[in-house]
Amino acid sequence: MRRAATLLALGVLSWLTLPVGSVRAADATPKPTIRIASEGSCIAPPEEMRRNHMEMLKHQRDRTLRQGMRGEKASLNECIACHASKSTGSVLGKDNFCESCHAYAAVKLDCWDCHQPKAGFSATGAKP
C-alpha cells in the first residue's frame, strides 16, 4: 500500500515538474492556427505585423481612398495574395489566416463585409 502511494506521489511530482511549453501547456492553452500559404518575408517582421497590422491598414486605407495614393506598402489585397489558403483561396474560414487568429483573440473582423477575401477572385456583373 505504501509502495503504491509512493509511486503515485512520484507520478504526480513528475507531471507537475514538466518543463513549461510541453504537452501540458499546449493542452491548457489552445493556439490559433496560423498557416502561411505562401512562405516568404512580409512587409515587416512578424512581431511588428502581429501588433501593428491594423494601424498600417488603417492609415493606408485613408491615404488611398481619401487622397488617392496608390501602390502603398500596406495593402489588403497584398495580404490576401500571400495569406489566402491554398485550398479555399480565402483568408476567411475556421483555420484560415485572418479568421483563425481573430476568432482566437475575439476581435470582430469587418474588413470582409466589403472587401473580397478570396485571392484572384474575378467578379461577374448582372444588370441591377
Binding site: D62, R66, R70, G71, N77, A123, A126, K127, P128
Partner: protein, 243 residues
Amino acid sequence: MSHNDRRGFLAATAGLGMVALAPGVHLMQVAQAQTKRAAGEPASRLQRWGMLIDTTKCAAGCDACVKACAAENGINETVADPRQASQWIRKIDIKDPKNGRQHSLPMMCQHCAEPPCVDVCPTGASMKRADGIVLVDRHICIGCRYCMMACPYKARSFVHQPLTRQNPEVPRGIGCVESCTLCVHRVDKGLKPACVEACPEQAMLFGDLEDPNSEIARRIASVATAQVRADLKLDTGVRYQGI
C-alpha cells in the same frame, strides 16, 4: 493649404512651365503623366475628371454602359425589392411633351464640384477627392442615407444585404451607401471608366476638365453642352451634349 499641398502645387506648376517651354514634344508626355499617377502620389487638385455624354449618339434601348459598369464593379446581387437596386448608372429616356423630341441618356453620379451629398454627410464619409471624384468612404459611412436624399440625381443607393462576390478592386458591402466612383481604380491606373470604354457609339468622353488641351475641354469649349439641373449651381463634372 497644408505644407504638402503647397509642395505638390509648386511641383505641378514647374511641370506646366515645361510644357510652355517645349510645346509639342512634351505635351503628349504630360498628358500621359496626368492620367497615370506614380505610386504614393496623391490625386491633384490641378485636375478635374469629368465626362461629356453626347445624347445625340446615345441609342435608346442600348444599355452597354450599364452592363459594363455592373461587370467592372461587381454588381451581381439580386435585391428583394427593385427599389433597393443599386444606382451606379442607369439609362433614362426623356421626352419633351411639347414637341415630342426624345433623348436617351445614362444618368449617374454627376461628380459635382459642390456636392450636396458631401454637405449633408454627418460623418465625413461622403467626400470629394482633390481631382473632383466624389466618393463614399465606407470605412466611416454609418448608412444613414442622408446623402441619398440630398442627391438631386438619385445617384446613390444603399446596400441592404451581405455581399460576397465583390471585385477585389471595388469593395462594397452591407450597411453603406454607394454610387458611381468614376471607376476611380481604373482612372488611377490611367484607364478610362468601364462605361466609357464599353459605349458602342463612342457617346461618352472622359477626360480632365481643367486641362485646356484635353479633348473633353476642347469639346466643351466649342459645342453647346449642358449640366443637368444647372439651376442648382452644383457645377457638375458630367456634362451632356444635345439636351
